[in-house]
């Protein structure tokens, strides 16, 4: 017994001796997280309270406890189930498209030999990311207008009826997903492009010698080479499963498409909650966090188990 614990102690000492620099490296980050992430989490208590402000943090302790009342209130809303479905559908579509399109673009770009062209495409694809949804929303309303938008001019020129992309429940989700990709695909493309640089060029040389065509090279060398990044981006995207993009939806939807496009954040916003009903909005936030946390943890485990890939 004694020997064992002695050994353990010694073990800890040698471990500490070897590993202390790693702890030191993490120290500044952990301090910042403690102050700016963990300390404010005290505020989560107000999801179980009827929050009434009172001098600084004091309000978190003096407000009346109401148990699960805030959760009951929001889940009891008649339209909440539909809103939850909308959120999930839109978010999943966005995650899928938001990975597939940048991936395809990165692969296509990888085949381009002209460096100037390649650089231009990369830079330009990233541009819409810098415009806020207020600005882009206005532009989209213009170009998608059924009466005088460019897109519908094309559609009618081809002999079809104009489509009211933003005002038709059947097209709104698609429009949201496509426009999200349009704005954001430069972001993930960068991750994939950076990953592409890490692939050993000699593999391609070897493949060429073996007579593999471009397509086979892509299939057997390029894709497997960046698979970790694909998994990574997918898993991290899952964390956003209940964030279907407030700014975007808010700027593009209208009552006519609520049934298909109203998401949790816009729904809560219209209830007047983001404004001042802090207890309910914190409760909704907590609900979203718990779901994300569960999903991320599960996907980390799955990635480890089935792809033998440790994400974190």
């Amino acid at each position: 017994m004694r020997e064992v614990s002695m050994k353990k102690k010694k073990n800890i000492r040698t471990i500490m001796k070897r590993e202390w620099p790693l702890h030191v490296m993490l120290l500044p980050a952990v301090i910042l997280l403690a102050v700016f992430a963990y300390l404010p989490m005290v505020g989560i208590v107000i999801s179980f309270q009827d929050f009434v402000p009172s001098g600084g943090m004091k309000g978190f302790f003096t407000s009346e406890w109401v148990g699960l009342e805030n959760f009951r209130y929001i889940f009891g809303m008649k339209d909440f189930r539909q809103v939850l479905v909308n959120t999930l559908v839109i978010a999943v579509l966005k995650i899928v498209a938001g990975i597939a399109v940048p991936l395809v673009l990165a692969l296509l770009l990888n085949e381009v030999k002209n460096r100037a062209f390649k650089k231009s495409v990369q830079t330009i694809v990233y541009i819409p990311y810098f415009l806020s949804w207020v600005v882009l929303g206005g532009i989209l309303v213009d170009i998608l207008s059924p009466s005088n938008g460019i897109v519908n001019s094309l559609i009618t020129a081809l002999g079809h009826d104009p489509v009211y992309f933003l005002g038709d429940p059947n097209t709104i989700r698609g429009t949201l997903v496509v426009s999200e990709v349009w704005k954001g695909c430069g972001y993930n493309m960068v991750i994939f492009l950076a990953a592409l640089t890490a692939i050993d060029q000699s593999q391609y040389e070897a493949a060429k010698v073996d007579g593999a065509g471009y397509f086979k090279q892509m299939l057997y060398i390029t894709l497997p080479g960046i698979l970790p990044q694909i998994i990574l981006v997918t898993v991290l995207g899952l964390g956003n499963i209940l964030n279907a993009g407030f700014d975007q939806v808010f700027n593009l939807y209208s009552p006519i498409v609520y049934e298909k496009a109203d998401i949790i954040d816009t729904f809560v916003y219209r209830l007047g909650m983001l404004n001042l009903q802090y207890s309910v909005s914190t409760a909704v936030g907590l609900f979203k966090s718990v779901i994300s946390f569960v999903l991320i943890t599960i996907s980390f485990t799955l990635a480890k188990k089935f792809a033998n890939y440790q994400i974190f």
Partner: protein, 565 residues
């Protein structure tokens, strides 16, 4: 030492008969005041002097909100060193320590104020909106005696402005029977919907100004089909219309509903001394059918449900539309853009057309621009009232002194710097009076009777009449004598043609929780009907649905209040 004395005095006063507000300085200038038992500006015999001056300088903290109208070239130094602020301190011994200066937008100042309230650190006084007020009402952060203090210290003029449209403003600031904030009022008749229409188009197509909804329909058809802009293209529509059509502003439909005797979004009497919600009135059916027909026939933009006010107003600016419902300021913006693109454009204002056989009654609500709340730890709550008195005095009753305060605005016109003043309120008939005086002066061709403020508008109109129609468009079309906005408001006012919102109290309990869901449902149903996805055949089912969402409970609560009113 001094501080201690002040506190003692305050304690003495609390013990006395006054409202429980701590009040530091006793104004003993000239030795007229008794040494104890009276607050600032209170003389021996208990008379209150609303124009008192503190003996010791008093500093209040607050927030400065920069109106979007001046954001372009606002300067902090110029504002704080202006005659208004220096004289305010000279005459009252009160100065304001602004904790921040931020743009008056939902994102900036409103957020900052909400966060300040939620984190429980508010300045000596601040101006809040109604939802911020209801949060504060639950908290222990504010002075709940401000209503009594206001009553005591408000000058006669300030009080008459605040109650110019009855007790509604003060009632809306009361929670649990106490007035816990000072309402800053604006004019409700200035918010009456009217119709703006292109007179040049009417004349060109040999039409008459529409008086009935049927007239209106025919005029819209003519505007759509008969190429009023004469460009040979089929590019015109009947009316400006947007997705927030139930909020009065520009290009909304409030006036249209009123034309059918429907009063969406406000609370009206149901004929038996009970209140009901206007959005579920039977009359809305007809109005909705009318708009649905407009949509179907292309009289309004097919994508209106994606367009907000500003976007929709492009139709007017570009000369695609010649009719819009709106408010009295529309010619100042955005209709003035039309004339920049087409010098012929001649927008005029007319009373809203009616479908009922008699003249239509437009709707309006008591207009409150904000509520002043005072921190419970503020030692001088009455100072806030003193500053409001100062504003009213200088803005409306200062005679020639008025000219001292004028500053040049971004259009080069000398005006009273209203946007530099946070504590300001309004007299309901102010703009209408200006209009009356100007019309008189124009008729007599004699401006000598006009006061300094009226002169500003009068000169603007003179500029218009001498040919400068682009820059002075708004002035003429608002205050002028040729089918101007206030001609219409005068007409409403003279004939008592307006229906007031009967809802004049703080939100009822269920309202706070459910009302936004209900207004949401209303917008969804209305929009769907207009776009032909829903039908008014299901109006009863719709009414049932919103009642089930809590409207019946709210109606009950409101009627309880109304009965005891």
């Amino acid at each position: 030492m001094k501080k201690k004395l002040v506190l003692l005095l305050a304690a003495a006063m609390l013990a006395g008969s006054l409202a429980g507000c701590g009040d530091g300085a006793d104004s003993s200038e000239g030795g007229a005041e008794a040494s104890g038992g009276s607050g600032a500006g209170v003389s021996e015999d208990g008379e209150v002097d609303p124009r008192f001056k503190y003996d010791e300088p008093v500093t209040l903290t607050s927030y400065f909100e920069i109106s979007p109208a001046i954001a372009g070239d606002w300067n902090q130094e110029t504002t704080l060193n202006s005659v208004y602020y220096t004289r305010m301190t000279e005459e009252t011994n009160i100065s304001i320590d602004w904790e921040w200066f931020a743009a008056q937008t939902p994102d900036d100042s409103e957020q900052k104020k909400s966060v300040a309230i939620a984190s429980g650190e508010i300045p000596d006084f601040m101006i809040v909106n109604s939802s911020q007020l209801s949060l504060l009402a639950k908290s222990d952060l504010i002075n709940r005696d401000i209503g009594k203090i206001f009553e005591k210290y408000a000058s006669e003029e300030l009080m008459s402005w605040t109650t110019g449209e009855g007790q509604a403003a003060l009632e809306s600031a009361s929670y649990g029977g106490e007035v816990i904030a000072i309402p800053l009022v604006d004019s409700s008749i200035d918010m009456l919907p009217m119709m703006w229409i292109r007179r040049d188009w009417i004349e060109k197509l040999n039409l008459e100004m529409p008086k009935t909804m049927e007239d209106l329909y025919n005029v819209m058809i003519a505007f759509r089909d008969q190429d009023p802009d004469g460009n040979g293209q089929d590019d015109t529509i009947g009316m400006v219309f947007h997705n927030l059509f139930l909020s009065a502003g520009l290009g909304d439909a409030v006036g249209l509903f009123n034309g059918f005797g429907a009063y969406p979004t406000i609370w009206v009497k149901d004929g038996e001394d009970k209140l009901k919600y206007g959005s579920i009135m039977e009359e809305n059916r007809e109005a909705l059918d009318y708009i649905a027909k407009m949509y179907q026939e292309g009289l309004i933009d097919q994508d209106f449900s994606s367009n907000d006010e500003v976007k929709a107003s492009e139709a007017a600016a570009s000369g695609r539309a010649g009719i819009q419902y709106g408010l009295m300021w529309n010619a100042n913006w955005p209709l003035n853009a039309t004339v920049q693109n087409d010098p012929e454009a001649d927008w005029v204002a007319i009373p809203i057309p009616s479908a009922t056989g008699s003249e239509a009654m437009p709707q309006t609500s008591p207009r409150i621009t904000g509520y002043v709340v005072v921190n419970k730890n503020c030692e001088h709550p009455e100072a806030v009232v003193r500053l409001l008195n100062f504003f009213v005095d200088k803005y409306a009753y200062s005679g020639d002194e008025y000219n001292d305060y004028l500053v040049e605005d971004s259009n080069g016109v000398m005006t009273f710097p209203l946007h530099w003043v946070m504590l300001k309120t309004w007299f309901p008939l102010k703009n209408l009076t200006i209009h009356q005086h100007i019309v008189e002066a124009l008729e007599k061709d004699d401006a000598s009777a006009l006061n300094a403020e009226e002169m500003v508008s009068y000169n603007d109109i003179q500029k218009y009449l001498s040919g400068d129609i682009v820059t002075s468009y708004g002035g003429m079309k608002t205050f002028g004598n040729d089918m101007a906005a206030f001609d219409t408001i005068q007409h409403y006012y003279d004939n008592n043609l307006f229906l007031m919102n009967e809802f004049t109290t703080g939100p009822t309990p269920t309202m706070g929780q459910k009302m936004s869901t209900i207004t949401d449902k209303v917008m969804e149903y209305y929009t769907k009907v207009i776009m032909g996805i829903e039908s008014t055949d299901n109006f009863d089912a719709f009414v049932e649905e919103v009642n089930a969402l809590g409207l019946d409970k709210i109606t009950e609560e409101l009627n309880e209040w109304y009965a005891n009113k």
